[in-house]
């Protein structure tokens, strides 16, 4: 994938990827899904409305469908695939989603988990209203959010007792 002329590098889940010229013009969502085969990041709308494509860009939750690859060169991207611990155990947020019954169809789940992570980085002990605010830009059509809020609350207690 790398060419001699290419100097642009994108770090995804800790691995550096040299970017070809054509890849710089792609949106980040397509690059992750089609080039890197990281299909855990979902395309729910393509217009930035649903949040299914949320990834972390330098630890901030961002919509990858509205992000050009060229705009994030040199930055650190984390997708859901990069979220498990090195030994394969789940991140406490992932475990909390399972334990709270926060997963139904699962299509919004990766984006929700990453938005929750970004929220808990900024606010270790959010109250339920703050959690709702933190995930407000991620749409879920299945759960009514209640058990997702439960999950983030539980994760906060596990991560920052």
């Amino acid at each position: 994938m790398s060419t001699e002329q290419t100097t642009s590098v994108l770090t995804v889940n800790g691995t550096e990827h040299a970017l070809a010229e054509t890849e710089l013009n792609m949106n980040l969502l397509d690059y992750l899904r089609e080039v890197l085969n990281l299909t855990g990041t979902k395309n729910g709308c393509g217009t930035g409305a649903c949040g299914s494509c949320t990834v972390l860009i330098d630890d901030a939750a961002r919509r990858s469908c509205l992000t050009k690859v060229s705009s994030v060169v040199g930055k650190r991207i984390t997708t859901i695939e990069g979220f498990e611990q090195p030994d394969g155990t789940l991140h406490p947020i992932q475990q909390a989603f399972i334990d709270a019954g926060a997963i139904q169809c699962g299509f919004c789940t990766p984006g929700m988990v990453l938005s929750a992570y970004s929220l808990l980085l900024k606010n270790k002990h959010p109250n339920r209203e703050e959690i709702r605010k933190g995930i407000n830009t991620n749409l879920c059509r299945c759960t009514g959010y209640q058990q997702i809020v439960d999950a983030v609350e539980q994760a906060s207690k596990t991560m920052y007792p």
Binding site: R33, N37, L38, T39, G40, T41, K42, N43, G44, C45, G46, T47, G48, A49, C50, S52, T79, I80, E81, F83, E84, L90, Q94, F97, I98, D99, A100, G101, A102, I103, Q104, C105, G106, F107, C108, T109, P110, V113, R128, E129, I131, R132, K133, I135, N136, T137, N138, L139, C140, R141, C142, T143, G144, Y145, Q146, Q147, I148, V149
Partner: protein, 754 residues
Amino acid sequence: MKIPSGKVFRNDAYAKVTGKAKYSDDLKFFNMAHAVPVYSDYIHAENLRVDTGAAEKSAGVLKVITAADVPGSIRFGQIDQDYCMFAEKKIMCAGDVVALVVAEQRSQALSAAEKVVVSADPLPVVSDPEAALSPESPVVREIKNSNLMNHHKMRRGDALQELKNCDIVLQEEFSTQFIEHAYMEPESAVCVPRQDGVMEVYGSMQHPFSTRRFVGALLGEPLSHIEVYQPPTGGGFGGKDDTAAIVCARAALAARLLNRPVKLTYTREWSIRESYKRHPYRLNYKVGIEKSGRVKAVQVRMVSDGGPYLSVSPWVNWRSTAQCFGPYTVDNVYADVLCAATNNPVTGAMRGFGAPQVNFAVEQISDIAAERLGISPLEYRRINMVKQDGETVTGQVLDTHTVSMEQVMDRVAGEIGYEEKLGKCSRGTSEDDELYGVGLSISYRGSSLGAEGMDFCSSVINCQFDGSILLETGIHENGQGSESVMLLLLAEQLGVRLDRIKYKRSSTSNIPDGGTTVATRGTIMGGGAVNAAAHKLKQLMADNLNDVLQCRPEEVRFEDDHVLGPDNESRITWDEAMQHLFLKRVYPYAFGSFQAPDVSWDEETGQGDAYFTYVYSSQAVELTVNKSTGKIKLQNIVAAHDIGRAVNRAMVLGQMYGGITQGVGMALSEDLEIEDGKFPHLDLNHYKIPKARELPEMTGIIVENPDPQSPSEAKGIGEPALELIAPAIANALYNATGIRYRDMPLKVNPEELK
């Protein structure tokens, strides 16, 4: 074995939370091509001409498929075969597909699609359902001589005469809007031609067997030549049947014509444009009530918008007919439920299926009636609601299960403090900026298909000689957790550890057609089939292991991962039981099926045993309305549903919260704009489904009266959860503002509050 209460079980949770779950668009096959649909700018037009010349010459294009390339039937449908999978001669609505462009790359297909030239001669657009029913209206469907798609009736007693003699007669009109399912995952299909001639279909869908019929029709091939697999499906809510099946059929046609794998993944824009919607209804009620509070007679006329293709409109309308006056006993009912063909988007199945529209009207009428009578809304409901051994409006006597309407209502009213809070409602006046209101509603819902369809389902248990077990049912996982429920029920039946059992990947070539996973029938029908198969398996095992256990077959028990005789001394582990069966050359395999108990229906009178059992529900809401902005803020929601028995409690609650939330969207924010058949917007930025901050904390109460009509004692919760929050909100809104809002979505004009 039962899972400890409070523990959550989902067999797909790990894959979904790690991003490892592969949805249809996540699949790639060697040499896979990409297809995209082409639409026209017409809404209603004839003499359709599609020029594909320029598109075919476009870079990377392999083929541009139109109606002329279809080897089988261009038209198909679940009831009438009228749904055009490729537009032929005419355009009937904005979502009609005129061509499918297939190219090496998706980007190439997208740019070629813009080069397809479509021309046609416009026809008048029929967009108002009432006007469509007048004899002067142009006829939308040329196979018919009028726009009346269907007409269901109820003629019970003599409502028209009795209405003349009632102390109070209410006349009320309500309307509901187009609703988009807005499942998070847009439609997607990947079709792979197999060397033995079978077409493999991987798609986002609710009903692999229905998909197989659509694919077979378009290809002109028998069902045995098509094998449909269902990868994880990103939500359905009734919406991934016809349209999702047609997406699969088109991809299959491309794969057949090119003899290579083809992927067809929809954008959100295409998904909204083409998928069917919830029917908008206009409902006119005349309700006659005696001074005692008893409803004596009801006359109702409902008109719904069917769009240009029939889809399942007659079944949706039928449920509106069978449940045309909510959970109340009335001796005289005169109902007409009509569906009109228009050039608006197609309407079809959506969670709730003709009940949310009716409940929106009926449960507001309950509050209106109570106020006119000067009694509490609970008292009015208590007087009129269905009771144990009582009769429904269809003449069905409810004597085969526990009728818990009152119990469920009292649980909700008690939990939210309804009676006390009713006195605190603002009714249009408050000292501060916020008006406060509380509102409640009740409903019952016939379980499963009822008299609208053939209702049966099967299950296969294939025990392996190493002690592991494979389970399959004719019910499908749409995200609701159906596989987990089936696994729990089997573990309980066999008394084995849950981790022994694996749910088999579904395939239409493995198990008989179990019907659509719709109508809140997954748990009750699939669970019934699992029970039936488990009983057969246990009988087989008992007949072949009783000698080992030194007892009679009927004394053999299945508990704690063991097979036991009458006392605990004669016992073998499950693994040992499998070894014994192997040595006896007996396959521990069972096929079981569950046929729903008989139902009946008379088309002329609308009388009969409409459903074999019912789910009883009540929901209540507290809200505030800002006097200067009119903004409605939900503050608290309580719901109770009698679902027979909860198999997976956390998932039952999840269904409740999710269903309520979809109901909240319908009540307050969701309104798919259609102007003369056109969509002004095709995105989720304009179509607003509820967000986390727009919802209050919710309390779900699970009421369990085990249902003898269900082999697993469980019923279902998918649709009951959605069908009654909208009228509760409207009632709360009235109690807050003193204004009755009869059209959804509910909007408060602050000018009216002054």
